[in-house]
């Protein structure tokens, strides 16, 4: 099964309480995905020239402060880690790609959950309500967020196998469904230099998007490529620095509903996850057409 939620704020009031709304939406999707949960939140952009990473450590006693000192020595600046449960967000005084490469080579014991200027990804095994509590999700503000509740079908229940998956700088993917050609596609993408950390089917879709974007496709083109190259069931939601995109496979076995008011745009696997938002009763509401890419983006000022 799995549940997906997405929330895009169109007013400061929603931005301030993004975490509260996201938590309520995730809880509604708990029955669709009780084994793991995760969110990607877009918030607090790092200053130009610097970047932020969300890192995961399996060690509950991880010395995040020591890592920040090392990053300071390597790239300059003094930053405190922002620790949430098994994850920490760190600011680095260099570009996100370089910062990510540095962590991967120097600290192979850590997992880079996200890299970019605005994205933060948190994910963990366990019930969504417990996850939200552990990560103090209600404290989080931001411009937009995606969330996922997982009922695993294709691979193991692990933190790494939870969603969202990073698909590139400030990009992430959540998925409801299952892919049947992921092993073939994973081999093809490995030849293209895309790295995979798990046997998970969604990670392959994320890798596919990362590859298409690397080769110069727009997000819409990359998603449209999924219609030809991915075999299986999917409703995808993709988070970007400015917004999010939604795509359902042409057979459309997996549900999705979209709703919009003056204050927010939301998507969810089922309407009751949207019903918890203020003004939901009067929202404009529709079901995304199969095989059609929908994109929301913040107006760039």
């Amino acid at each position: 099964m799995c549940g997906i939620v997405g929330l895009f704020a169109k007013s400061p009031g929603i931005e301030e309480r993004l975490g509260v709304h996201l938590t309520a939406m995730l809880a509604q999707m708990s029955n669709r995905g009780p084994d793991s949960a995760g969110v990607a939140v877009y918030r607090d952009p790092a200053p130009f020239g610097s970047s932020k990473l969300t890192l995961y450590s399996a060690d509950p006693h991880e010395h995040w402060g020591a890592l920040c000192d090392e990053l300071g020595d390597a790239f300059g600046g003094e930053h405190e880690p922002n620790v949430r449960a098994s994850h920490a967000v760190v600011l680095v005084e260099t570009g996100a790609a370089e910062a990510e490469a540095w962590v991967r080579s120097r600290h192979p014991e850590l997992r880079v959950m996200s890299a970019g200027r605005v994205i933060e990804i948190y994910k963990e095994v366990g019930r969504p309500e417990v996850f939200a509590d552990q990560f103090h999700l209600t404290d989080v503000h931001g411009t937009h967020a995606l969330g996922h509740t997982r009922m695993a079908t294709e691979s193991r229940v692990t933190t790494e196998g939870s969603h969202p998956f990073s698909t590139g700088l400030d990009l992430c993917l959540v998925h409801n469904g299952s892919l049947s050609n992921h092993n073939t596609l994973r081999r093809a993408l490995r030849r293209e230099g895309i790295e995979f950390q798990t046997e998970n089917d969604t990670e392959v879709a994320a890798g596919y998007l990362a590859w298409r974007l690397r080769e110069g496709a727009s997000l819409e083109q990359a998603l449209e490529g999924c219609l030809d190259d991915l075999d299986g069931f999917y409703t995808f939601a993709v988070g970007t620095a400015d917004g999010f995109a939604v795509l359902r496979d042409p057979i459309a076995c997996k549900p999705a509903v979209l709703a919009e008011t003056d204050d927010w745009v939301a998507m969810a696997s089922e309407y009751h996850a949207i019903a918890v938002l203020p003004g939901a009763d009067d929202a404009r509401m529709w079901e995304p057409e199969p095989g059609v890419v929908y994109v929301w983006e913040q107006a760039r000022v």
């Binding site: 549900p255 509903v257 199969p290």
Partner: protein
């Protein structure tokens, strides 16, 4: 209900009352053969299985959007949704009337055996899939694979139909006013005779759709060329 007085409406607030309690109370009317006939359900907030399995001449009005399987297996009752409905609306309905003012998600009226289902907005994919006698009137459009393996009953679509309409259809009649993106296997367009116009007129009237001309519809049905229709294969069943 006492003759000569206004019908009393029983109001159930799903923000306060558990769903099972609502459905149980609705079922109890059928079991006991007495109880309130008019019901109004408020704050459904996308709940699944609202007003499922009714089996009495009730009039249930639901004020808001509902989730999956609303009015499933309905018998005798009239269920009106003042909002949208999720997957599997009126699935396997047997009789009665189900009306949705908004749109319905996929598989509306699936396997329905009787009664009338009316969707005033659009219905998504697989509307009337495997229908077995239910009549369905959609004021808007239907998605792909609608009336897949439809056996009997009528599907009336005032808007357009998606791809693979009526794939592997048996004896159901499909009437579409707008465009059909594509016909499924063994589904063909058929002549629209006066008896068919009359049938559409009757269904539109019962659905209270009065802004559409019955003469504007085209009829689709089975070419009866698939394996199942060959007499030589009868022994296989």
């Amino acid at each position: 209900m006492v003759t000569g007085t206004e019908p009393v409406t029983e109001v159930v607030d799903l923000a306060l009352t558990p769903l099972r309690e609502l459905n149980q109370r609705l079922h109890d009317v059928a079991t006991a053969g007495e109880g309130p006939r008019h019901w109004r359900v408020v704050n459904p907030r996308g709940a699944h299985a609202v007003a499922c399995g009714l089996d009495a001449e009730l009039d249930v009005e639901i004020d808001g959007h509902v989730g999956y399987y609303c009015a499933g297996m309905n018998q005798l009752a009239t269920v009106r949704v003042r909002g949208n409905a999720g997957t599997g609306l009126a699935e396997n309905m047997m009789s009665g009337l189900v009306v949705v003012d908004g749109s319905a998600s996929q598989s509306a009226g699936a396997t329905g055996r009787g009664g009338l289902l009316v969707v005033r907005g659009d219905a998504a994919a697989r509307c009337g899939i495997s229908m077995k006698g239910v009549d369905i009137v959609v004021r808007g459009s239907v998605g792909h694979l609608s009336a897949f393996m439809a056996q009997t009953g009528c599907l009336v679509v005032c808007g357009d139909a998606g791809d693979a309409l009526g794939d592997s259809i048996y004896e159901a009649r499909l009437y579409v006013r707008g465009t059909v993106a594509g016909l499924g296997a063994d589904c063909i367009e058929k002549e629209m005779r006066e008896e068919h116009v009359a049938q559409v007129r009757d269904l539109l009237a019962r659905a209270e759709v009065d802004d559409v001309d019955p003469a504007d519809f085209r009829r689709y049905g089975s070419a009866r060329q698939l394996y199942t229709f060959k007499i030589d294969n009868a022994g296989a069943y």
